[in-house]
């Protein structure tokens, strides 16, 4: 059902080789963007995969996106790839032509970082926005707080979601040299990203779904690497005079982790293929994949930490950084909450899930 084309394999290999040339950073949690690596990623074409050719993009599919994201995950690199895809798709789908041409070429060539500022303090991802808009002579003014805004210190532009009478509306805010991850705005001048009459909801949803595909693909790569490191550790680490692999209490659990990772692989590949299906099928498939990957991630994180013991919790050890990254990804762009909410609201709209179509 699923094999990569020779071009997709070449893309995978070039991303893998690029990442191996950049030394790992022994650090976890939010961190600055390594600009040299980011520009090398841009040079490979990785940042404009879903963008049109007129802005330097590649018009690629969900499969290329999955391939690149899985390599980032495997290498355990913390880069704003999820955030960049989120912003890029939003720009492609709802931005005015002016804003597209203003923001996308820089996003694609790696010279500027554009992020979506959506989360607000003390609110779930799906809550209506409290960020408000007033329209004056000089255009839009924004009032409110967005936090956390990922990579805010590196960003040159934020796409700020605002409460605009019950529908999704998005503003462009130029930022520079921000400190921290909170965007506190009082009468801040901004531009509307789209035309006033634009139907934004579908584009907002699609951008979130495709960014979710990046999240789960990156998580799959990280889980593969974490499982490989764990089996290798179990085979070499000795206690009570024998390798840990000889203890069934560990080898049986490692088998369960393998099953979780393989099921995650199935749904990630399936979601990659469904990325450009019709809206409902795309949303439901990616949403279900997100739930399956979530269960796998939590399982992998707990078991990889436990089976390694203390060494797995050190920042200098690769498996430790992978489980920190997996936990970040698990909660990126709202985590499972918006997907579960959507699936719950349509739970009785279908008799069963159609996989074979």
């Amino acid at each position: 059902m699923f094999t990569l084309s020779s071009e997709q394999i070449a893309l995978r290999d070039s991303v893998r080789s690029l990442l191996s040339r950049h030394e790992a950073v022994e650090r976890t949690g939010p961190q600055p963007v390594p600009r040299d690596l980011w520009e090398d990623m841009a040079e490979l074409g990785a940042l404009g995969l879903l963008c049109a050719e007129d802005v330097g993009g590649y018009d690629a599919t969900g499969v290329e996106l999955m391939v690149v994201a899985a390599e980032l995950g495997r290498a355990g690199r913390v880069l704003p790839f999820v955030e960049t895809v989120h912003a890029a798709v939003l720009l492609e789908r709802i931005a005015t032509e002016d804003e597209r041409m203003r923001l996308l070429p820089g996003l694609v060539d790696g010279s500027s970082i554009v992020v979506v500022a959506h989360a607000e303090p003390m609110r779930t991802w799906s809550s209506p926005r409290t960020m408000s808009v007033s329209v004056g002579d000089a255009g839009w003014r924004l009032n409110g707080v967005k936090a956390p805004v990922p990579y805010l210190e590196d960003a040159s532009h934020c796409l700020v979601t605002v409460g605009d009478g019950g529908r999704e509306s998005v503003a462009v805010l130029d930022v520079s040299a921000s400190a921290g991850s909170a965007l506190v705005l009082a009468d801040a001048p901004a531009r509307q990203l789209h035309t006033p009459a634009a139907a934004t909801d579908a584009g907002v949803d699609e951008a979130h779904d495709l960014a979710t595909l990046v999240v789960i693909s990156e998580a799959l790569g990280a889980m593969d690497a974490a499982l490989a490191q764990t089996t290798s550790y179990l085979s070499t680490r000795k206690q009570f005079g024998k390798p840990l692999a000889a203890f069934q209490t560990l080898s049986q659990r490692a088998a369960d982790v393998y099953v979780s990772v393989e099921l995650a692989r199935s749904v990630v590949q399936y979601a990659a293929v469904a990325a450009f299906d019709d809206k409902r099928r795309r949303a439901e498939t990616i949403g279900r994949a997100r739930l399956v990957v979530s269960r796998a991630v939590r399982h992998v994180v707990a078991e990889v930490a436990q089976m390694h013991g203390g060494i797995g919790l050190t920042a200098e050890y690769g498996a430790g950084r992978l489980i920190a990254r997996l936990t970040q990804l698990e909660h990126a762009i709202g985590g499972i909450e918006p997907h579960r909410r959507r699936l719950v609201s349509s739970w009785d709209a279908h008799p069963e899930v159609q996989v074979l179509t």
Binding site: S251, A255, V259, L263, S266, V267, D348
Partner: protein, 367 residues
């Protein structure tokens, strides 16, 4: 397929032997009873994907699947390893369920460690004389014949002294005793052999090669494939039923139940995609990682769906009997059915055996 033959599975009742036989004969007449067999014996040489589609269609129409012991177990073994005379004698009758087979593998001291089996067969003239005991013989009380693993060389290393015999259960010295189970039924039996004479030409293939045939059979079983299809059908059924039961507000299904449906549909999707993802890779008779994934995870999800059905039935689950006023059969039978299905993670290679296969052959974790 006549409705009365589909009612048992739809309602969650055990099918009677007559219903099982009648269904398989209709399928066989349509060329759909033994698609996994070689074409020469009525099969279709289908891939796993084609078999999965076939199983899914049977399950979603609540058709009683062809008898596993005949179609999934002994049929393929005979077609691959038996003498031309045994094939001719048994394969057409096996496909049509004119001969009802049961499996004689497990023994009281040989469960997951199957090669520890002790039932013996000693050559005496033109017969093998069998002594010993088998257990967990599924539907042994309805069976005509048993395919049994017996020890023919007590001196050899434990896997190497085993042969496969075909035993007519009417032979003097055979006693079949049904075992009462916690679901109130008698789905499995104990079978005792006391100096049972089995004609020598009923030995499958070669003497002392039985372990190879058993491995072929178990690799072929594809229990997981069937479980994915049937669990999906059962989940859809439970969802329809949940929507008919009133709760506090009189119309809404409890949100915690909805979460479970949503999660199970996602997990089943993952398993089904795994079937499709690997369907090109598997060869008959060879254990592959997907068989283990499907058996391990498929049986867990099957049990979770049974548990959900039991929870949806709520207070009605206390009934057990059918024919109580106002109580649908599925709800009345939900508790025994749940209890019965606790077997799913135990039979056909327990979850622990599947994990052992994965950890040793795929992950390379060895003592």
């Amino acid at each position: 397929m006549p409705d009365e033959l589909r009612a048992p599975l739809r309602d969650g009742l055990e099918a009677t032997p007559e219903q099982i036989r009648a269904t398989q004969r209709i399928l066989n007449a349509a060329g759909l009873a033994v698609p996994g067999w070689p074409a020469e014996w009525g099969g279709r040489d289908w891939t796993d994907l084609e078999k999965f589609i076939w199983l899914s269609e049977l399950q979603s129409a609540f058709v009683i699947p062809p008898l596993a012991a005949n179609v999934g177990m002994i049929g393929p073994v005979l077609a691959e390893f038996a003498s031309p005379a045994l094939k001719k004698r048994f394969l057409p009758a096996t496909a049509n369920l004119d001969v009802w087979w049961c499996q004689g593998f497990s023994e009281p001291d040989a469960g997951s460690d199957l090669a520890a089996l002790r039932t013996s067969a000693v050559r005496d003239g033109d017969a093998w004389v069998v002594n010993g005991q088998k257990i967990w013989t599924t539907m042994g009380q309805h069976a005509d014949w048993m395919f049994a693993l017996v020890r023919t060389d007590p001196e050899a290393k434990k896997q190497q002294g085993i042969s496969m015999l075909l035993i007519d259960l009417q032979t003097p010295g055979v006693t079949v005793r049904p075992i009462a189970l916690i679901d109130g039924g008698h789905e499995v039996c104990e079978t005792f052999f006391d100096n049972v004479r089995v004609p020598a030409d009923q030995l499958v293939g070669e003497v002392n090669k039985g372990w190879d045939y058993a491995k072929f059979l178990l690799g072929n079983e594809r229990v997981g494939l069937a479980a994915v299809a049937s669990t999906k059908a059962r989940l859809a059924q439970t969802k329809r039923r949940a929507a008919q039961i009133a709760d506090l507000s009189g119309e809404h299904v409890d949100s915690a139940l909805i979460d479970r449906f949503v999660a199970l549909e996602a997990e089943l999707m993952a398993l089904e995609v795994t079937v499709l993802r690997e369907s090109g890779d598997s060869e008959a008779g060879r254990a592959n990682p997907v068989s283990s994934i499907l058996k391990l995870r498929g049986s867990e999800l099957e049990q979770q769906v049974m548990e959900l059905t039991l929870d949806v039935a709520g207070p009605m689950s206390a009934v057990w009997d059918i024919g109580v006023d106002g109580m649908p059969i599925w709800a009345a039978r939900s508790m025994p059915n749940y209890l019965n299905d606790l077997k799913a993670t135990i039979y056909a290679g327990s979850s622990e055996v599947q994990r052992l296969i994965i950890s040793s052959t795929i992950l390379g974790l060895r003592a």
